[in-house]
């Protein structure tokens, strides 16, 4: 909300500097986001009289002028302006002067003739015809009055002002006006508020109700509608003060009637509209929903096709305004307008917002209505408009009006206690302060002991109960009165993470210990990512949901897997010459399990990781997976089986199977995908369906006693068909539960000429131990013999 200091001063005798006012407004909840000291930069531009004009000896288009600049003496000025004449009083920028646009002027010489300054146009002073008639001319500003010479022009033209740009929070639509801000200024400075004049003389020969008929068929969208007739209107230019007010707020003056509606919107915060009576078919005004596909052309000559969600103001046959947004081209004020009907209405904010958004048509009026206008303002807005008609003497004001409303909440009271108010704040604000602050804000207060009865100002629709009152008080009293206390009335509670939350942190910390950097990537991806990673419609990961209004296609699909994002980051690191790295992300994935549109999708946690670099290979990433399972799924049966994941190297990827269930996969990413992502290095990656994995979590520590007796080790080297999987050999042995066999470990594998075509040599280490006794060599060797036989029978493996 923009508010010039000069305008605020009309309602409050502000007795502090603009800076001090800024701080005061800040303290009571109105942050001043910008302060513009208008024209404060203009310097050394003074009035002068042109006494003599001669042609420049060396330039056809230039003139050499002798001027009298009062106390600055007689000067010679060169100009190319055509509209000057001898005897004209004009502004001249002297040596060292600064113009409105911050340009500086200094003495110079033009084609051999000295010039001691520059004549100024209105634009160079930051003004146009609305501020001073003649300032808009293409040439030098020529003063119409006989002004004293050598005087600062910015003083004479009252150019200086301070423009506040105030952040008004959404709960305070009543402050979307100069008057609203003035009310707050009055309260925070504890100075009286001078209300704008709302009085006017009624013409008893003119009657609204006898002339027109107004019908409201949509109270739900238009809770209050006031119409007032003004006859014999003189359409003319507005007075200077009015034009200057509008000019400061960036609004062009049109004519007195249009200017009045704009002025009331700025000052009171009520959007106004004026209809030309002669355009109203059968002198009728009807407020109703538009018909399906009904058309209107608004003042800016745009045509819209409407529907029943849009509210229109109509005459007997056709729409004449898009309610609250813009008037129709068919009923606006024209030069030949004689009689007008003023409209001041309250339209409900969400309907205006929706219509404005749907049609793409906005105006100062619609953006004001979107914030919310109260019924009280609707009434005083009309009064102020009529007062201005009266003050400007430009029309006969009807003695009566239409004021259509279904019900009117006249007086709102809150009855509460001082204790409750102070209870919200946690401090004891003295009763006399409470009363004082509320009265400054125009609340009427009645205190009876601890009880307090408060009448709420009509424009404060945001005040509903005692916490609102507490806020009004503390923002005037000052938040620095709030003193720290640490939940002294609260029960003791036991805080902290629960087991599930701790597990997440533990698994992350394990990965950090393995040298992984945690990454965070966006939850939404491009649908193209699914093609790139070959997740087709047959995959369960393809069940994603899409954002209706994404920032772009790249950020439109809620991901069902983290792996593509993690691989993408791995590749981008390779691109940036981070040649080795380990990264992971633990985040939610979102699967479309909805039966209807209003159901929520299923969110579950996933853990994805990637490794790359000279020292990384399939087995380093497998080691990470094994580490996770060792730590968190103690005692579970873990298997790795060839995976069919399509984004993976087909012979270098594995499903992770815990107790028979697939909980994830890992392997080498297809080189073609890495190529597409501009990575020339192999990427190893995997994903664990975290919530599947948690079903097998067993991270409790159960101590197993360590045998005091020596362990016996045996190595066995076998020759075996090269396609036999190591995992199958180990599980075949493990399944037999051989006595005292503690562990089996592969320690060497060899393929080559020495072992023959189609064969490989594998060497295993076996450890035997017994908790209660020393094992004999014989019993260990007999188990080894059984193992050897088993391998021979099952895999045709020969001892080497």
């Amino acid at each position: 909300m923009k508010a010039p200091l000069s305008w605020l001063k009309e309602y409050v005798d502000i007795n502090c500097t603009a800076e001090e006012l800024k701080d005061k407004l800040f303290s009571c909840g109105f942050e001043v986001e910008g302060m513009d000291y208008i024209a404060s930069n203009i310097n050394k531009i003074v009035t002068c009289k042109i006494e003599k004009i001669e042609k420049h000896p060396n330039a056809d288009k230039l003139s050499v002028c002798q001027v009298n600049a009062g106390s600055y003496g007689k000067l010679q000025i060169i100009t190319n302006a055509k509209n000057i004449f001898e005897g004209a009083i004009v502004p001249v920028a002297l040596d060292g002067a600064t113009l409105f646009n911050n340009e500086t002027i200094s003495n110079g010489e033009i084609r051999g003739v000295k010039s001691f300054g520059m004549f100024c146009s209105g634009e160079e002073l930051g003004i146009n015809d609305d501020w001073y008639e003649g300032a808009g001319v293409n040439g030098i500003l020529i003063f119409k009055e006989e002004l004293p010479l050598g005087e600062e022009v910015k003083k004479l033209l009252e150019l200086e002002d301070v423009m506040f740009d105030i952040n008004v929070t959404a709960n305070r639509p009543d402050c979307q006006s100069i008057l609203g801000i003035a009310r707050e200024v009055s309260a925070v400075l504890d100075l009286p508020l001078k209300m704008p004049d709302l009085s006017y003389a009624k013409d008893f020969d003119v009657s609204t109700t006898a002339t027109i008929n107004v019908n409201n068929l949509a109270y739900d969208l238009c809770p209050r509608y006031i119409s007032h007739l003004v006859k014999d209107v003189k359409i003319e230019s507005s007075p200077l003060w009015l034009k200057r007010r509008l000019f400061r707020m960036g609004i062009r003056s049109i004519n007195n009637i249009v200017d009045i509606t704009n002025y009331v919107l700025l000052e009171i915060g009520q959007p106004m509209h004026a209809f030309d009576l002669k355009d109203l078919e059968r002198n009728n005004i009807v407020i109703r929903r538009a018909y399906e596909n009904e058309k209107i052309i608004t003042l800016d000559e745009k045509e819209f096709a409407l529907n029943k969600e849009n509210l229109v103001i109509c005459d007997a046959v056709k729409p004449i305004a898009l309610a609250g947004i813009m008037g129709g081209l068919n009923s606006g004020i024209k030069d030949d307008t004689v009689d007008i009907v003023f409209e001041s209405a309250k339209f409900v904010r969400d309907n205006i917002r929706k219509t404005s958004k749907a049609l793409g048509q906005r105006s100062d009026s619609s953006s004001r209505f979107e914030k919310g206008v109260d019924s009280y303002t609707t009434e005083i807005g009309m009064q102020r408009a009529l007062n201005l008609i009266y003050t400007l003497g430009c029309g006969k004001i009807a003695f009566d009006n239409y004021d259509l409303y279904e019900y009117m909440v006249n007086e709102n009271y809150i009855n509460t206690t001082i204790d409750k108010i102070n209870g919200v704040l946690g401090i004891d604000v003295p009763v006399e302060n409470i009363v004082n602050y509320l009265e400054r804000l125009n609340f009427e207060v009645n205190v009876d002991g601890n009880n307090i009865s408060i009448k709420i100002p009509a424009y404060r629709e945001d005040i509903e109960s005692y916490p609102d009152i507490a806020e009004e008080i503390i923002r005037e009293y000052g938040y620095d009165h709030i003193k720290s206390s640490l939940l002294k009335t609260c029960s003791i509670t036991n805080g902290g993470r629960n087991d599930q939350q701790n597990s997440i942190e533990n698994i992350k910390n394990l990965l950090v210990g393995y040298g992984f950097n945690e990454i965070i990537t966006y939850s939404f991806v491009s649908e193209k990512e699914y093609d790139m990673f070959k997740i087709d419609k047959t995959c369960k990961e393809h069940k994603f949901i899409k954002i209706i209004n994404p920032l772009g296609e790249d950020l439109s699909v809620m991901r069902t897997t983290l792996l593509p994002s993690v691989v993408r980051i791995a590749c981008s690191n390779v691109n940036r010459k981070n040649y080795d790295g380990r990264i992971f992300e633990l985040a939610k994935v979102y699967k479309d399990t909805r039966e209807s549109e209003s159901d929520l999708p299923t969110e579950s946690l996933a853990l994805s990781f990637a490794t790359f670099g000279a020292e990384e290979n399939f087995f380093t990433i497998k080691g990470v997976v094994e580490g996770i399972l060792d730590n968190f799924c103690n005692g579970c049966k873990v298997e790795y089986k060839p995976s069919t994941t399509k984004c993976m190297h087909p012979t270098r990827c594995a499903d992770i199977i815990v107790n028979g269930a697939i909980v994830g996969y890992f392997g080498q990413i297809l080189p073609s995908i890495c190529d597409e992502l501009n990575s020339d290095k192999p990427i190893f990656a995997g994903e664990i369906f975290y919530e599947e994995l948690t079903k097998y979590f067993n991270d409790k520590i159960l101590v197993k006693s360590v045998s005091k007796f020596p362990q016996i080790e045996r190595d066995l080297a076998i020759l075996i068909d090269k396609n036999v999987l190591c995992g199958d050999i180990i599980s075949a042995i493990s399944e037999q539960n051989f006595a005292n066999l503690e562990s089996i470990k592969l320690f060497d594998i060899y393929e080559g000429a020495q072992v023959g075509e189609g064969k490989k040599s594998m060497a295993f280490n076996f450890v035997f131990v017994n908790a209660e006794r020393t094992l004999s060599v014989e019993e260990v060797d007999s188990v080894m013999e059984e193992i050897r036989k088993l391998l021979l029978e099952k895999f045709n493996a020969e001892r080497r």
Binding site: L425, P467, Y479, K483, L486, G496, E518, E597
Partner: protein, 341 residues
Amino acid sequence: MQEINNLREKAKLELEKVSSTKELYDLKTTFVGKNGLVTGLLRGMKDIPAEQRAEFGKVVNQLKEEIASYFDEKEKVLVEKETFEKFEKERVDITLPGVKQKSGSLHPLNIVKNQILEAFCGMGFEIFEGPEIDSDYYCFQALNIPKDHPARDMQDTFYFSENVLLRPHTSPGQVRTMEKKAPPIKILSPGRVYRADDDASHSPMFHQIEGLVVDKGVSLCDLKGLLDEFVRIIFNSETKTRFRPSYFPFTEPSVEVDVTCCKCHGKGCSLCKGTGWIEILGAGVVNKKVLEMSGIDSEVYSGLAFGLGIERITMIKYGISDIRTLFENNIKFLSQFNRRK
């Protein structure tokens, strides 16, 4: 006897010449081994008269011990010398670089999140994480933001259907907690949130932590106390907080909370745009309507709530100027966070 003396002298002489333990052990075998020279003397015993044999044996044994002790002494010297030479051979350039043990790191946003959670967990807060895709009811209506409310314009929200959306704040966590749990309540609800914004200070996905206390008699003073303690832990003990009035539909009164600028300590600098203060979070007393909608008696209980952006605090704390740095995930950037503070 002469023979014995000769042997002794011979041993001494030979020993002088020995320069390695290998030579030494060979020589030792030559003299005192099973078939060595000294033992050889004993073999000649049969030629000694019987009465002298005992004496002779004794002298030979003495000789054996004597020679053995010469060897032991010499061995000590040689072992020491050879060990020294071995170490010398194994000498490394200790200034060559070590074999790097890579240490990983948590993401800076999660480091800060953990610090914040731990600060409040110590004050008795539990952690509740709600869904990221939530209904209009939990994201807006139950927070006193009805459909026609202008506050809906405060954030541009991503939608899946009219009633299903990506939460624009973690505040639904408040409602979901209050529906499930009776007071006393002290919870934090951290997580990802989403708004249609994308520039140097806004990311379409970012992280918030919502805090909620519901109990008897809690007031703005408790909020101040809680947040003072929080900034002391997250920043330092010199950091001060300041409340200023603001508006959120779900709290009344509502405040913006500023902290003294951690860079200039309140003197005014570029980080705080010369004000000495930095805005870090929004907070307030829970709106009575919000309590009631969640089934809590607002005449008995009152609540405090605050919501803070983890990105903002992380950026202030670690001096990060562009929010996008946090989502680029460059390992060179991430690796700097392998410390805890």
